[in-house]
Subunit: 282 residues, 2 copies
């Protein structure tokens, strides 16, 4: 039975207060690949600093700081959600990340296409081609945690697919767009999921599909965005992306001199970032 006298109320991203749940906290660390002894040590430290009204974000930052001193790789992977959430503000467009993820899943991808529909021209965030079939990918990026991508987004993605399939000429990409996928960095609302299943739209988001959500795919194939790295300078993420370094993988593969040349950053910075990248993937 929970000890109600010692229960601390935590402020969630959604604005709701919820009792702090130590078990859930341990599970989130274990998902980040943190070993049990380290996780228990972090939990003990965190519990000593809890107070009513503390936000999940503060708890997260505390844990992240404690972790980075004992387990750099674990602490980086633990910060995945924040890394994906901070894609936008750091000048790292979400669609570039989505394109990289799909490319690592075996699709040929292109970003920022204009495609003729029956009624209007459409800006298609990503086109992903595998074999003869092309998918239009709509990317919906939210700046806040705790929000949902909902029915309206699913509906306009479907209407765009219809307009494209009814009016699209396959000349310029050599494949016919015949399906659509809506990708978000948040959860989907129940309505959005029901509508998408009914209309054959693919959805990819946080925790969706249940065993194959964006965070699971990213973790399984180690598709960490470079924004997961510590100590990126303002504008640095944007610079790296602009020369094709979207994922930590891309960065880890390069020799330091290439990093410097490609992104126009100093040799010292390049080595620092590359070493972090390698530690994360080790």
């Amino acid at each position: 039975m929970p000890d109600f006298d010692r229960m601390v109320l935590v402020l969630k991203a959604s604005g709701r207060l919820e009792p702090f749940d130590g078990g859930k906290f341990l599970r989130s660390l274990s998902r980040g690949g943190i070993s049990k002894p380290v996780a228990l040590q972090v939990l003990k430290e965190v519990e000593a600093h809890l107070h009513d009204g503390i936000s999940t974000r503060e708890i997260y930052q505390m844990a992240s700081q404690l972790l980075s001193s004992v387990d750099l790789r674990g602490s980086l992977r633990y910060s995945l959600k924040d890394a994906i959430m901070s894609l936008g503000p750091s000048g790292f467009p979400f669609e570039d990340f989505v394109a990289s993820v799909l490319s690592n899943l075996g699709y040929s991808v292109s970003v920022g296409n204009i495609v003729n529909g029956r009624c209007v021209k459409h800006e298609v965030d990503v086109i992903a081609i595998k074999r003869e079939s092309a998918k239009m990918v709509e990317c919906k990026y939210h700046n806040y945690k705790g929000v949902y991508t909902g029915l309206k987004e699913a509906m306009y993605t479907y209407a765009r697919l219809l307009d494209i399939t009814e009016g699209y000429s396959e000349r310029h990409i050599g494949a016919k767009i015949d399906s659509a996928m809506l990708v978000t960095n948040t959860k989907f609302s129940e309505d959005a999921v029901t509508f998408a299943e009914c209309r054959g739209l693919e959805l990819l988001g946080w925790g969706h599909p249940e065993r194959n959500g964006l965070e699971k795919i990213v973790d399984r194939y180690m598709l960490y965005p470079i924004t997961i790295l510590r100590g990126l300078e303002p504008g640095e993420a944007g610079t790296l992306v602009s020369c094709g370094l979207v994922l930590v993988k891309d960065l880890a593969r390069l020799k330091e001199v290439e990093v410097c040349e490609k992104a126009g950053i100093s040799k010292g910075r390049a080595m620092y970032l590359r070493d972090q990248a390698r530690a994360l993937l080790a």
Copy 2:
């Protein structure tokens, strides 16, 4: 030729700077039904107070204040755009206003319906019935001037219509929904207009259709929302709407005792508001 030395740059709602245009200003007054001598007098006063960087809003407020001392009705009608823009914040839902406008155009209306589609249940802002045919009306309210209602809104409205026409049972309203209308208090983007025309969606917004936009219909049939009235107390608009007083017309028609009873406001306030309503429609 314009006198460039005396040109004053005005800050538009969109954030752009544009030279003050006296002719455009006079036309906006004339649309409000202000007589030419009064309009010229207001223009002269306004020009004496212009300075670089003055916002259209400040100019509007200055004109509105000058007008109300010489022509109450004209000044009220001139503030129509602000009145519609302030529907949301004053607790006066835009869909109630849209329903009232459509009702005055001969439709039977109902607000806030849940309708079964093929895939999901839909919240339909307004259902508008004329003869055997029912229209689903999607209301898109923006809190800011200078923004556009765009392609995404047109696309999800279309997808909702499809889902409803494919799955809808007409049992509970006695008419079949077979068309859709998207109503907004702003302008539409070019893409939205092209898509809507191509897919047979009706659009109603600021300046659209060109000779029959929302502001023109409101003015032609004197369908002013009660938020156009001066000196409404906080929450008063919401109280009036909750008992069915959405338009100035409704308020003007009532005897003062009914106003008091219906809206639970004092006899003095009721008379004050009703007299303003009658002056506006006179």
